[in-house]
């Protein structure tokens, strides 16, 4: 009996302990469910933030306006806690909101919603930069209206406001009844809408720059075509001219040779004595034919060099030798006007790599001109110096009448003659400097002139060194 009593009390004690444990279980459960809920909320937020980050990364990379909204996918949206979304941009032209994004709605539903939107309400939201949600909206009637139109239980609407171009708004919503929205969700959707605005801005800016660049490229291309066709035309004309000159010169040379031949035979008086008046006229014919044939030869040379028919037979030439030859050749004219001729060759520029015959012509022309335009008792001085790029420069200076500034540009053109008293008195073809220029250029060199009226001129040209 005592034993039973003892056991009973033990059982009662055990039962009490069990009840106490059950009470503790209740405490544990209630804490646990709260903990789980908090953790779930936290999990959802973290997932939503990750999703937001993914969307942001994608849309910030997108420079095509039409593809920005396509970056927002159903799975992203689900992670943020919604299964429906619509994006609208306001069209000022049509006075309506155009859908640019639809998730969870058919085309038909989207069109229906677009047609039922109260434009003023959303334009006001955009103007006020205001985000609204089923959670924060105090106007109950409006809240229900939006829910009914979009067929959702919870929603958030945030404006999309890029600085340029059309603006609009982003709608997200869910049919689920157990989704509790908070200010945090609103903030999240706001960030997303801002990201979209930013991306739209970038895309539009990029589009503008791209368009401008395309326009520029198009213009450059147009101009290039114009220029190159002009260039082609010029080349053609130039070739025709050279061909013409070359043909004409050939045709002229043949009769000229016979005129000169017959004049020489008559002058030799082998065909009988000539009266002195006839002889005088014949000598004129002879002299003029000589001039004419020089002119024709020069012309032929120019056109040949120009058309590339003449190749320069380049060799190593000692400038001193050439200049001595020129001095001998020109001695009579130099003596006539008592002109002093001297030269000074720099040690690094004693030799050139050039065609001997052509180089002779260059010097004959330049020195000949110098003599022609230098008054008696004047000076002609030639000096050389070495340049970088394996070239050497040769300067031919005189103390002549000089060239007026306005003529300097044209002086190397064919048939150009400076208007001065000497040229009016002395005959010339106007081809000499033109030929010189072509010869120098055919060697890869340049020629130019510096001159001061009544003080003298310096013709400088460059030639390759050996």
């Amino acid at each position: 009996m005592e034993k039973i009593k003892e056991l009973n009390s033990y059982v009662a004690h055990l039962k009490k302990s069990l009840d106490e444990i059950d009470e503790q279980a209740k405490l544990i459960l209630r804490t646990d469910i709260e903990l789980n809920k908090t953790q779930e909320e936290l999990d959802k937020k973290i997932t939503a933030l990750y999703a937001l980050q993914r969307i942001s990364r994608e849309i910030s990379k997108t420079l095509d306006e039409t593809k920005i909204f396509a970056q927002i996918q159903e799975s992203h949206l689900e992670d943020i806690g919604f299964e429906k979304a619509l994006g609208f941009l306001w069209s000022e032209k049509n006075k309506r909101f155009n859908p640019v994004l639809n998730i969870g709605y058919s085309e038909k539903e989207t069109e229906f919603i677009a047609s039922q939107l109260e434009n003023n309400l959303y334009l006001k939201l955009m103007a006020n930069i205001e985000t609204i949600s089923s959670f924060s909206l105090t106007d109950k009637q409006l809240n229900e209206k939006i829910k009914n139109l979009f067929k959702v239980n919870s929603f958030i609407i945030a404006p999309i406001l890029p600085k340029d171009g059309s603006q609009g708004f982003l709608f997200v919503g869910t049919e689920m009844t157990d989704t509790l929205l908070s200010a945090g969700n609103e903030e999240l959707i706001n960030i997303l809408a801002n990201q979209i605005s930013q991306a739209l801005e970038n895309a539009r800016l990029f589009e503008k720059i791209w368009q401008a660049q395309q326009e520029l490229e198009r213009k450059v291309e147009e101009r290039t075509i114009q220029l190159s066709s002009a260039l082609e035309e010029i080349k053609l004309i130039s070739k025709r001219k050279s061909d013409f000159v070359s043909a004409v010169s050939h045709e002229l040379r043949t009769p000229l040779t016979s005129i000169k031949g017959y004049a020489s035979i008559l002058l030799s008086e082998k065909l009988g004595q000539l009266p002195s008046a006839v002889k005088e006229r014949l000598e004129k014919i002879n002299r003029h034919s000589d001039e004419l044939s020089r002119l024709v030869n020069d012309l032929l040379d120019i056109s040949r060099i120009e058309s590339g028919k003449v190749t320069m037979k380049q060799e190593i030439i000692n400038l001193k030798e050439i200049l001595e030859e020129i001095k001998d050749l020109m001695n009579v004219q130099l003596k006539e006007k008592n002109i002093e001729f001297s030269y000074e060759l720099s040690a690094e520029a004693e030799y050139v790599f050039a065609d001997r015959q052509q180089l002779n012509r260059v010097f004959i022309n330049l020195v000949g001109n110098a003599i022609k335009f230098t008054p008696p008792e004047g000076k002609i001085f030639i000096k050389t110096h070495s340049l970088e790029n394996k070239m050497c420069q040769i300067d031919v200076s005189d103390t002549g009448i000089g060239i007026p500034q306005e003529s300097i540009k044209a002086i190397f053109d064919e048939f150009y003659r400076v208007d001065n008293p000497i040229n009016q008195r002395v005959k010339g073809t106007g081809l000499g400097l033109s030929l010189v220029k072509r010869i120098v250029e055919a060697h890869g060199g340049n020629i130019w002139v510096k001159s001061k009226l009544n003080e003298g001129s310096t013709f400088s040209f460059t030639l390759p060194k050996p």
């Binding site: 009840d19 279980a25 646990d32 469910i33 999990d43 799975s75």
Partner: protein, 409 residues
């Protein structure tokens, strides 16, 4: 046996199917598939998915489900589509379906499925059957009982129910060219193959043990002589209205546990709804007289249960003496409740399975340098036998459980 698995996240059905199918087909080398599994997110579920796959596999049985998430190796793929192709010369299979379950009664539907499965299976050795059912079916237990009447009470049955995107609105089953709802699909496996299975949940009992004093099928009417709902009211300090509001949540995290003698774990029952008279409608049977307790799950207990299930799967046992040397594929049928509990840690559970398989099998001969594909889906309910000899391996309908199945030859 050769297995190929493929997955695609493409939005367009035909390109998704093309991607997943060819990924799987290439792994089969030039062998023709014997059987095809198709798991997809609910938004893919439609006739076009079946028409599309039928082009690739005109004469092969195709079975599958819609699901909240596909399990592929140790990853969860949502809004995706997966194909699993199996080639085997020794495998003998038979597939069958039964629809209009609500009209026919779940028990009769189970019987019909069993009969259909056996039709082409005369004289063959039967190993086990895989069962996929509509996720919104309330009477999973009755369906099993009907099936067991035909196939044998302790015949191993395993599988899970289809699911949707946690909306609990509509789930789908795939069967050859048919898209089914309110239906069940079965595959009977036979021939010279080996298999093993394991199942766990990890939920622990809390508080006092109580007795179901009045019940009918899957409806618990009274517990300890009081309306069944009082148990939840009492523990959570909430009235019926608040409980109803939070029910999906509470039921997922704190289901009822039925005590089974000799079993390590309790048999879990989710509460689907609360009736006005205080009855609890459960997903699965809750027999009168059974001892029940409120269960609690934590992330840790959930993951370590999966780990344990993976250990059991990869250890030799009476029914699977050679399993550790011959596994070709592992299927996972995992309760969506586990996803809800684990959330961002959900893949940790799958990694535990993969790591265990690697440690116990792949790092040892004859698996050296081989790979065992893992594929499966999230369910609204699971089918698996209990291990205790006392129950002779009888299959039960479970909630919140992970079911692992290994098949090989």
């Amino acid at each position: 046996m050769i297995v190929g698995i493929g997955i695609s996240k493409q939005i367009d059905i035909s390109s998704a199917l093309q991607e997943a199918f060819w990924q799987a087909k290439i792994q089969l080398k030039d062998k023709e598939p014997t059987l095809c599994f198709l798991f997809s997110s609910p938004e893919f579920a439609g006739l076009s998915i079946l028409k599309n796959i039928h082009i690739y596999l005109p004469h092969i049985p195709i079975v599958g489900v819609s699901t909240f998430g596909i399990i592929f190796d140790s990853h969860i793929y949502r809004h995706s589509l997966a194909v699993c192709l199996i080639h085997s010369e020794n495998l003998k299979i038979s597939v069958a379906k039964v629809n209009d379950i609500r009209k026919k009664d779940a028990f009769m539907a189970g019987r019909e499925l069993g009969i259909n499965l056996l039709k082409d299976f005369k004289g063959e050795k039967r190993n086990f059957a895989m069962v996929f059912s509509d996720g919104l079916l309330e009477e999973g237990t009755k369906l099993l009982l009907g099936l067991q009447e035909i196939l044998g009470a302790s015949f191993p049955l395993l599988g899970g129910s289809a699911s949707d995107n946690l909306k609990f609105k509509q789930t789908y089953l795939y069967f050859n060219e048919e898209l089914l709802t309110d239906a069940v699909v079965g595959i009977l496996f036979g021939g010279k193959i080996v298999f093993n299975l394991s199942s766990r949940h990890g939920w622990k009992p809390l508080g006092k043990s109580r007795t179901v004093t009045k019940s009918k099928g899957n409806i618990a009417q009274e517990i300890d002589g009081q309306p069944a709902v009082n148990l939840y009211k009492d523990y959570f300090g909430k009235d019926t209205l608040l409980l109803k509001k939070d029910l999906k949540y509470i039921s997922t995290l704190y289901p009822l546990g039925i005590y089974l003698e000799g079993e390590e774990e309790y048999l879990l029952r989710n509460i689907l709804s609360i009736e006005d008279d205080g009855s609890l409608i459960c997903q699965g049977d809750i027999p009168e007289g059974s001892a029940v307790r409120l269960m609690i799950g934590t992330k840790d207990s959930c993951i370590s249960a999966t780990q344990q299930a993976a250990e059991e799967l990869t250890t030799e046992s009476i029914i699977s003496p050679a399993i550790t040397k011959k596994i070709n594929i592992v299927f996972i049928f995992n309760s969506v409740s586990r996803y809800v509990l684990l959330r961002r840690l959900a893949e940790n559970e799958l990694m535990a399975v993969q790591t265990t398989i690697k440690n116990n099998l792949l790092d040892k001969s004859p698996y050296k340098n081989l790979n065992i594909p893992i594929i499966g889906f999230y369910t609204y309910g699971e089918y698996a036998p209990l291990k205790a000899l006392h129950y002779q391996g009888r299959t039960h309908f479970h909630n919140q459980s992970v079911v692992l199945t290994a098949i090989g030859e």
